[in-house]
């Protein structure tokens, strides 16, 4: 299977001199098309730093990250923005929906950035909402939705542009058990039905138990990489 993400010798150092901290040390990793992988490990193990590198949100101090065949180190800031827009979907712990927009508009916004025509945007947004089980809630604003519903909108937003990979950082951390379970089901279904690749940073046992590939990190290094 093709690699969607390739990390080779990725190192990230924060600070300099005696205060320098290695958040990532020489990480090698391949995320394959259709993977439903989790990054596990205690706080400070480097999960979020690695997600930032893969998501083109930060540059490695050394090494190289490739997303869908494009080496991020070769890209300029505007090109990185474009890559994030077209190839990467993000799901955040705190949903990060735009409060002044309805559910549908939040999803449409990504397509608007891509320059897609209004009618097509609306159609694809409604379809994405249907995929995450929120049909009929398109006009609701985030404040009028539960945490679980908001996170589903965030998933729909991440998927609507049909990205090469969806990166999720602690997506269930703010959800109750029922909502978390439903969200995991949803992501697994999308992975199975559409072949969407997921890389999820989490230490939530409910997610870890159901992941198909578990990458354990400790002190900025990959401790183990297990497929179930």
């Amino acid at each position: 299977m093709d690699s969607i993400v390739t990390c080779r010798g990725v190192t990230k150092t924060f600070g300099t001199g005696e205060l320098a901290v290695n958040a990532l040390s020489n990480v090698d990793l391949d995320i394959l098309q259709g993977d439903f992988a989790t990054l596990a490990g205690p706080s400070g193990s480097g999960k979020t730093t690695l997600l930032n590198m893969v998501g083109a949100l930060d540059h490695p101090s050394a090494g190289d990250v490739t997303v869908d065949g494009q080496s991020l180190g070769e890209l300029k800031p505007a090109q990185l923005s474009d890559l994030r827009l077209r190839k990467i979907g993000f799901v955040f712990q705190s949903y990060n929906l735009i409060p002044v927009m309805s559910a549908c508009e939040n999803i449409e916004f990504v397509l608007e950035l891509q320059g897609i025509a209004k009618s097509a945007r609306r159609e694809r947004s409604l379809e994405a909402l249907r995929d995450v089980g929120l049909e009929g809630l398109e006009h609701r604003r985030p404040a009028a939705m539960s945490g679980g519903q908001q996170q589903r909108v965030a998933v729909a937003r991440a998927l609507v542009s049909r990205p090469a990979i969806v990166l999720a950082d602690e997506p269930t951390a703010n959800l109750d058990s029922k909502s978390a379970g439903e969200l995991i089901d949803l992501m697994l279904n999308l992975n199975a039905e559409h072949g969407t690749t997921f890389l999820i940073g989490t230490h939530d046992s409910r997610v870890l138990e159901r992941s198909r590939r578990q990458i354990n990190m400790r002190d900025g290094e990959i401790e183990s990489d297990t497929r179930h």
């Binding site: 930032n52 998501g55 827009l85 705190s94 990060n96 002044v100 916004f109 937003r157």
Partner: protein, 399 residues
């Protein structure tokens, strides 16, 4: 989206709108008031005797006497006076004289005027509150100022003696009937006495000589070109605009023009502080959101544009509210601000006793655009900060 973002924090938005609208209102309203004040001062001073410009024989302004007079306009000057750059004109005699009553002798300037012309160009005929104004250039009566009448202890219907040096160097001394008393600027009341033009020429032993030609203009903005036209038509005469004849008023006029820009600068500085503060607060509050937008793929330039559009809308609404407030305030004072109780004090600064607000629609548009554009420019700073938000902010955990 920008409109919704503007109203995300209604209290802050209202504060911003208040700052912009009150700032612009103060600029527009005080501009109208100052323009009204300037216009009132000009009307009060210029429509008495100065008018928009005067022509004299060379030397008359330095030593006004019967020997420095000139012939009535003819040739090129007469043609120039009758073109459309000149609204109206008249000729006058003005010579130093003394007026004598049974009780007192006082120095005055004797003005020989054509009453018909004066009614069109001067406010003095309308200021006659007792008796009548002169009826023709051959009217042998005199018009005295109210304060002069009090000082001379004379009155309407009585006679006064006027003395002046005539053309052959001897003193002319005639007795005149007081046919009218005018109530105007005290300086004019005290020092000017009016009689018919032909009578004054006869009194001074003149043929048709005159002391001055006074002109009014149809367009005050065209003062200098009009005066230049007259200068070209009368190169041997002393042609002056009101700005050269009334230096105090000219200085006030220039100062007011500068003052409005000083006021604009002060108000705008205060507005800029308010706009930058509130917009910076808005940007700081939304740091995570801007990070999200960047993470989702929005380019910094577009973030800058989005925040700038929000500022443009916010300041634009403030500008519209400011315009409405200013127009309402100006409309409410269309009847003029009556300062009659301070009339004598206002005379000292050459202002009229009723100040009419004077606004120009193009001025309102101009100042509003200046405020709007400058507001957007200062709001670029917070917008630039927003565009520089790191996308990692969005990934940062709240817990």
């Amino acid at each position: 989206m920008a409109w919704r973002n503007v109203w995300r924090n209604p209290r802050r938005t209202v504060i911003s709108l208040f700052v912009v609208s009150v700032g612009l209102w103060s600029i527009l309203f005080f501009n109208a008031l100052l323009n009204g004040w300037i216009q009132s001062s000009k009307d009060a001073a210029l429509k008495l005797l100065t008018q928009d410009g005067q022509i004299h024989a060379v030397g008359f302004m330095d030593d006004p006497n019967v020997e420095t007079l000139m012939k009535p306009p003819s040739g090129a000057l007469l043609q120039a006076l009758n073109t459309n750059v000149i609204e109206d004109w008249s000729t006058r005699i003005a010579v130093p004289s003394v007026v004598q009553s049974e009780y007192k002798t006082l120095p005055i300037t004797l003005m020989g005027v054509d009453p018909e012309n004066e009614r069109r160009i001067s406010t003095i005929p309308g200021d006659v509150d007792r008796g009548r104004y002169l009826e023709s250039p051959d009217d042998y009566g005199v018009i005295l100022g109210k304060h002069l009448v009090e000082r001379l202890k004379t009155d309407l219907g009585r006679r006064v003696i006027i003395m002046s040096q005539n053309l052959d160097g001897t003193m002319s001394e005639w007795s005149f009937d007081v046919v009218g008393v005018f109530d105007s600027d005290q300086g004019v009341e005290d020092f000017y006495v009016f009689t018919g033009l032909a009578v004054s020429q006869e009194f001074l032993g003149l043929d048709d000589e005159i002391a001055q030609i006074v002109v009014t203009l149809p367009d005050h903005a065209e003062l200098n070109p009009s005066i230049d036209t007259l200068k070209a038509a009368a190169p041997d005469l002393d042609v002056r605009s009101w700005k050269e004849l009334n230096l105090f008023l000219a200085m006030t006029d220039d100062f007011m023009g500068v003052y409005i820009f000083v006021w604009l600068g002060i108000v705008f500085s205060m507005m800029a502080i308010g706009i930058v503060n509130t917009q910076l607060m808005a940007v700081f509050e939304r740091t995570q959101e801007f990070g999200l937008l960047r993470a989702l793929g929005m380019k910094p330039r577009r973030v800058l544009l989005m925040v700038s559009i929000e500022s443009a809308i916010l300041i634009g609404v403030g500008v519209l509210v400011g315009i409405v407030l200013a127009v309402l305030s100006i409309w409410a004072l269309q009847g003029g601000i009556d300062l009659t109780v301070y009339a004598r004090a206002l005379e000292m600064v050459q202002a009229g006793s009723i100040i009419y607000v004077d606004y120009h629609p193009d001025g309102i548009v101009q100042y509003s655009l200046i405020i709007w554009i400058l507001g957007i420019l200062v709001a670029l700073w917070p917008a630039r900060r927003a565009s520089k938000c790191s996308p990692q902010e969005a990934m940062r955990r709240d817990t």
